[in-house]
Symmetry: C2
Subunit: 132 residues, 2 copies
DNA sequence: GTCTGTGCAAATTGTTTGCACGCAA
DNA sequence: TTGCGTGCAAACAATTTGCACAGAC
């Protein structure tokens, strides 16, 4: 891939993603940066997210309510996703026994590039709000 | 929710999903059943998938290349997703230490409803095909 | 000057929905 | 007879893309 030039808007997207612990969607990133960059467009947000993911600077967390969520923290950790409000929260790294995943590669002939543990349920706020 | 009546097409969808180890998308299910049910429509496939998921008879595996994938096997297990061809394969159950997830509920105030370990990389075929 | 970045709007595509009719109970 | 199930087509919504111009190197 050709070298990536510097861009104010892409830089702003990256630092936003790195400074934040919710895991914003493309549209949310757009909304947050729009005030400071009034001519920002959603297409640019998507294009830059694609590039940042390609560089490994940002990770796709998964689709929540039809929208992909992005994470600027690339060190390995797990996620909790609330089934009710859709919020995504960081969890400490959770993994099955060490070497267990590498063994899968050998056993099935896979090349393992990434793995993640995902927990779903109700976040604290939604749990409080719901009666049982 | 109101009681679900019997329906030939929904039954066929469920047994297809239960008899198959790939994890088909809505469209793939549609394609597979169309020959036997020529008047089947994609809207019906989506509606029935929604109901079957609601009943817990089918599970959403996640979005791969923009399409949700479905699994008719509901006993707990993990998945491998190929980053290249998008195929989804079953893995044995993988989980962090017992009780570890329950502990999260206490620690963060979450109600844990579900959890899954996902591995990504290249499947055997794609690994063979790719040169390094 | 060359080639990447961007705004804008149109196009694409997976999924949902409204409506009238068919069919199960 | 009641009301869920379905085909059909339109509606929706997230994302991608083509094009002409602006900006980085």
């Amino acid at each position: 891939m050709a070298m990536m030039r510097q861009s104010k808007k892409r830089d702003a997207m990256l630092s936003l993603l790195q400074s934040v612990t919710d895991h914003p969607s493309a549209d949310r990133i757009y909304q947050q940066l729009k005030p400071r960059y009034p001519d920002l467009s959603l297409g640019t947000v998507y294009r830059n997210l694609g590039q940042l993911c390609g560089q490994g600077l940002v990770k796709r967390v998964g689709t929540v309510n039809g929208q992909e969520r992005y994470d600027g923290q690339t060190s390995p950790h797990s996620h909790f996703i609330c089934n009710r409000c859709g919020s995504v929260m960081d969890l400490p790294r959770l993994s099955p026994g060490e070497g267990c995943v590498d063994q899968l590669g050998v056993q099935y002939g896979f090349i393992v590039q990434d793995c993640e543990f995902v927990v779903r349920g109700l976040c604290r706020d939604c749990a409080d709000r719901k009666q049982f």
